[in-house]
Amino acid sequence: MKKVLTGNHAVSYGAMIARAEVVAAYPITPQTQIVEKLSEMCADGDLDARFIKVESEHSAMAACIGASASGARAFTATSSQGLALMDEMLHWASHARLPIVMANINRSLGPPWTIWTDQNDTISRRDTGWIQFYCESNQEVIDTMIMAFKIAEQVKLPAFLTLDSFYLSHTSEAVELPDQKLVDEYLPKYQAETDLDPTKGSPAYGSLTTDQWYFELQIKMQRAMEQAYDVILKENDLFKKVFGRSYLPVEGYRTDDADYVVFVSGTIASTIKDAIDRARENGIKVGSAKVRLFRPFPKTMIREMAKGRKRLGVIDRNISYGSEGAFFTEIKSALYSQSEHPEIHGFIAGLGGRDVTVDSAYEMIRLVVETSPEKDINWQGAKL
């Protein structure tokens, strides 16, 4: 069944068909519609879940942690300041190895107050131990909601998907609503290995440790992340078989014969396709590659995508102050161990929601094709 949904409502419907059992959330623009819709779904009985209307995002994540620890499928949604407030509990969730799923709307951090998009809220959560998906379309949003639970529950790590504020969160698109019966087959009810049931014993979770244990527990988290990469590929294959749609961690657009490739994420991945088409019309052999997965970082796919290219570009809608764009760093790092080192342009564009147009994407393509990079940050569309 097709339905016209905003990105936010695609998240709500995703939580519904994934049969989240506990939802704990706090309102924040531009995420609020997710929570509103979910509270309605819970109240109307369309979703058989407990909705905890918490008093902060920090508590939203703590509630999800409690719910997940007791064996329930837990979900929350937030954005920007809310995600930043959650930070402590993001670490707690991953260290406790709880497969919570969260939707985040990429909104710039204040001050000054702003509600428009960039990725700094999620990029700065890089090392929290969460699987991170960056979505381009509302179809991808609802499909990722379903897959995220399946993946998280297998590797016992939390996962979030993120959407550009307004460009995706408030944009309506026709979305194929996955059939509930198929979803139930693809994503069966969550069976937690441990669930705090007092009849099953009296363990203590998260007790004090010394270095005797902690180091190895960290290695286990890293291994779970590495395993997550394989599980993501496996689950994508299965999802494709059941629902006919596929989302690879790195997805090329007209890259087969491309001499030049520009890496992008989020909604810019859509915009740049028009610019790529224009360049192709002008006879330039260029393609774009959407990086959908930020953690675990899809190094192998990045390497394959970069292989044999004359020059690369990376467009970041984020900035790691004092360094450069975050995807730029990651992509360079993934290529360092390779024998080939194509030149790479690092662009930063669209901070604070500034529109990244087809023209500006085309300009970045042009720079990649025609010039060698001179610096690590090439500001695009900025008043310099």
Binding site: A63, S70, S207
Partner: protein, 299 residues
């Protein structure tokens, strides 16, 4: 002989508590009343250490450690997670110290109580951040020395009254207790267990190292707090106050304060101040008993 306190022990030997720890007694009594069908969640507090290092545990019920400010909300999450999966019977207990309750955890506690989550929140009150090495909390009383209220600059502010904050939420059940009065405490925990919705109990739990006193004065100090009127034992059921124990005459404050090094520096005028505050609080408490009884009859 008929014991008024249940015989089953759910706190094992081998805790890593200090000698004379009141918080251990509090847990021991609480679990006697709560029984096996209980889940505990603990924020950062002395008990996050007391229960023992991984892979050991000193409590015979499942225990989930959580972050400092999240005891009440983690308990809410557990409660909702259990309920949606069909378990409405297990007691979900948030077990926190006074810093985690009166200070950093107050927001989450307030939220959980306002939403009337079916949880029992127990605060063991040793009147300072003891686990981090005796720093003042909102629950530290006037006059006390701590490492952040050094002797010449002892705490000048009054103890934050979390009980009354809970009552102001319209909580179903709130009570004070003391480790010196285990029957009273067990009765209160048993009562709270039977109530669906949010419950709060604050148990006075002495801390020999933090209070600068001998370990074997622990129960005595807690009892003197009750007998001197410093720590009234009372409960509030659906807004109606009831004093559970009123000393016929208050024992001299000096008996209580004198046991503890943390009050050693106090001069007579400071003790006068504490006395005045105590008398005022008792008058207020008794007025509330009378007023809420009358209101209960009327509404």
């Amino acid at each position: 002989m008929k014991y008024s306190i249940p015989q089953e022990e759910r706190v094992t030997s081998g805790t890593v508590a200090c000698q004379g720890c009141g918080a251990v007694l509090a847990m021991r009594y609480a679990l006697k009343a709560l029984g096996d069908d209980t889940i505990l969640t603990l924020p950062a507090c002395c008990w996050s250490v007391i229960d023992g290092p991984f892979p050991y545990t000193a409590t015979k019920v499942p225990l989930f450690h959580t972050a400092f400010e999240t005891a009440a909300i983690t308990a809410s999450g557990i409660r909702n997670g259990l309920s949606i999966r069909g378990n409405d019977h297990t007691n979900v207990v948030a077990w926190a110290g006074d810093g985690g309750t009166a200070d950093i955890g107050l927001q989450a506690l307030s939220g959980a109580v306002e939403r009337d989550e079916d949880i029992l929140y127990i605060c063991y009150d040793n009147e300072a951040y003891m686990n981090t090495g005796i720093q003042r909390s909102g629950s530290t009383p006037y006059g006390a020395w701590t490492t952040t209220t050094p002797v010449r600059h002892f705490k000048k502010e009054e103890k934050k009254n979390v009980m009354e904050i809970m009552v102001a939420h319209g909580i179903r059940y709130a009570a004070t207790a003391s480790i010196s009065h285990p029957e009273d405490f067990i009765k209160k925990v048993s009562k709270a267990k039977e109530i669906r919705g949010a419950k709060y109990i604050q148990i006075f739990a002495s801390c020999p190292p933090g209070w600068k006193m001998q370990a074997d004065f622990s129960v005595q100090a807690a009892r003197l707090a009750v007998q001197t009127g410093i720590w009234p034992l009372y409960e509030v059921v659906d807004g109606v106050y009831k004093v559970n124990y009123k000393p016929k005459t208050f024992k001299p404050l000096e008996d209580y304060l004198g046991l503890q090094g943390r009050f050693k520096h106090l001069k007579p005028e400071h003790i006068d101040h504490i006395r005045k505050q105590r008398d005022y609080r008792w008058k207020l408490l008794e007025a509330k008993v009378k007023m809420t009884e009358e209101l209960a009859a009327e509404f």
